[in-house]
Every structure is written in structure tokens, then in C-alpha cells.
Symmetry: C2
Subunit: 154 residues, 2 copies
């Protein structure tokens, strides 16, 4: 990564956090994601499983689908995905199919994550494209958002 | 399963196969899926990743999303999913989130499957709902369709 990468990562992760906050305001699990290619945002989305009555409407899936629509292709080589939470198996799989180059995530998800926990999908022989993975960005803010959300629900 | 289950399974798997054949005719990887509840088909779909330019448009995802729209809920308790091929990590995850009761699949997928191969998702601690899994239905027809498709492409 170049010297300029640090501030850029912070900015895109801040945008993912804004999507997560907007999801919380809609009563959805607060996770947000941004797809970036060549320094430009292709798509950004927050979780909308309840609103859309769609179990696949995680932030990453919605952002990937919108980015593919924008790019006119079912693959996004050279694109990076920023997400506030470690992706689940479904999203980790979609990230692989979309040929995402780099995955930046915020908080680890010991109970539901599939990148550095559980199935560790990108190390599996059935995974045919693994992105480079960077984690721990905006970790505290990302985790606090989720904790606050679930605390209020209880 | 009751005595009537056998013919019913065969019928729904035949419908999934018809979706797979239709996918092949569209130039898509031939996989088909059907979601059933209370003996009625909620949704049926074939793979459309190329047509929709959507890496998440696998047969199972499209069938689950359509079934959720039909049911008006992001969860489908009591519903079963029939698919011609062992689901990948993305689809296996979506099946779990949708709370599918039983998964019936045709051919095993040693290279990309996540149910009985690779991550064996439903045995993973990060999987919070696992369907009952039955496999080997219409196995030969399902696998032959895929083999024929990829042979022609080469």
C-alpha cells in the first residue's frame, strides 16, 4: 500500500460506518459496506434484511449487487470492499465470486464471521478466489454500534 | 418422512432439473432450485449470474428471495429447498439465514460445495440454523447436465 492508502482507507471505512449508522436508524442490524475501484465509490449500502424481507440483503451483498450493476459485470476485478463487520459465510462467498481484490473489515465476528473465524472460507479448498484481507479498521466504532443496537433490543 | 414423501421429492427435484435445463438453454451454469412449503411451490429459479450481471444470482439465492417475497417474510420456517447441486458457501449461508427446514440436493460438488465438502458449513459453530440435509436425488441427471454444459464450453 502507498503512503496515501492510510487516509483513503479511513475515509472509505468512515463511509461504511455511516451506512451502518443509517441501518441502525432504520431498525436494521447496523452493518455498512462500500465498494471502491480506482479511488471511486462504485456502491455503498447498509443492511436491509427486514425492510426488503430478504435474508440475503446484508450490506455486502447489496453493495456488491449495486456495484456490479454500475460496472455492468458480474465480476469486479480490481475493486475493494470495505465493511464494518467481518463477513458471514454468505457474504464471504459473494465477495469471492465477485473477484474482489481487497477486503477491509472493521470488527471481528467470532460468532458469525467466516473469514478469520469458523469456516475461514478463504483458506478453504472450495474457494477459488480469495481477496487480500485487512482487518481492525474502525474496529471500536463498528463493534460499539452493534453492541448498542443489540443492547437496546433486549 | 411419510410414504408419500418419495414421489413428492422426485416431483420437486424434477422441477429443479427443469430450471437447470432452462438455465443451460440461456447459456448459464445449469443449476436449478425450488422452494416448497406445505406441498406448494413458493418459488423456482435457475442460475442467472450472466444475464443479471449479478454474482449472487445463483439458483438458490433467486429462489429464496422470490419465496421470501411471496411469503412476505425474510424467514421461511417449515419450507424446504430442492436444488440440483450441492450449495456453495454463499448459498448454504443464505439457506441457513432463511431458516429452511430441509435441504434436498442432487449432485455433490467436491470443488465448490460447502455442505458436505470444504467448510461443511452446517457443522460450523458460526452456523446458527442448520437444515436437515438429504442428498443424491436425481444425482446423475444433475451432474450430467453440468458435465455436458462445461464440455461444450471448452
Amino acid at each position: 500500500m502507498t503512503d496515501a492508502a492510510g487516509p483513503a482507507i479511513t475515509g472509505f471505512m468512515e463511509q461504511a460506518l455511516a451506512e451502518a449508522r443509517a441501518a441502525a436508524a432504520r431498525g436494521e442490524v447496523p452493518v455498512g459496506a462500500v465498494v471502491v475501484r480506482g479511488g471511486a465509490v462504485l456502491a455503498a449500502a447498509g443492511n436491509r434484511t427486514l425492510e426488503l424481507k430478504d435474508p440475503t440483503a446484508h450490506a455486502e451483498i447489496l453493495a456488491l449487487r449495486a456495484a456490479c450493476r454500475a460496472a455492468g459485470s458480474e465480476r469486479l476485478p480490481g475493486a475493494d470492499l470495505y465493511v464494518t463487520l467481518e463477513p458471514c459465510p454468505m457474504c464471504a462467498g459473494a465477495i469471492s465470486f465477485a473477484r474482489i481484490r481487497r477486503l477491509y473489515y472493521g470488527a471481528a465476528d467470532e460468532k458469525g464471521g467466516a473469514v478469520d473465524h469458523g469456516p475461514r472460507l478463504y483458506a478453504s479448498p472450495v474457494c477459488h478466489h480469495a481477496p487480500e484481507v485487512y482487518s481492525g479498521f474502525a474496529e471500536t466504532e463498528s463493534a460499539d454500534l452493534l453492541r448498542g443496537f443489540f443492547r437496546e433490543r433486549r
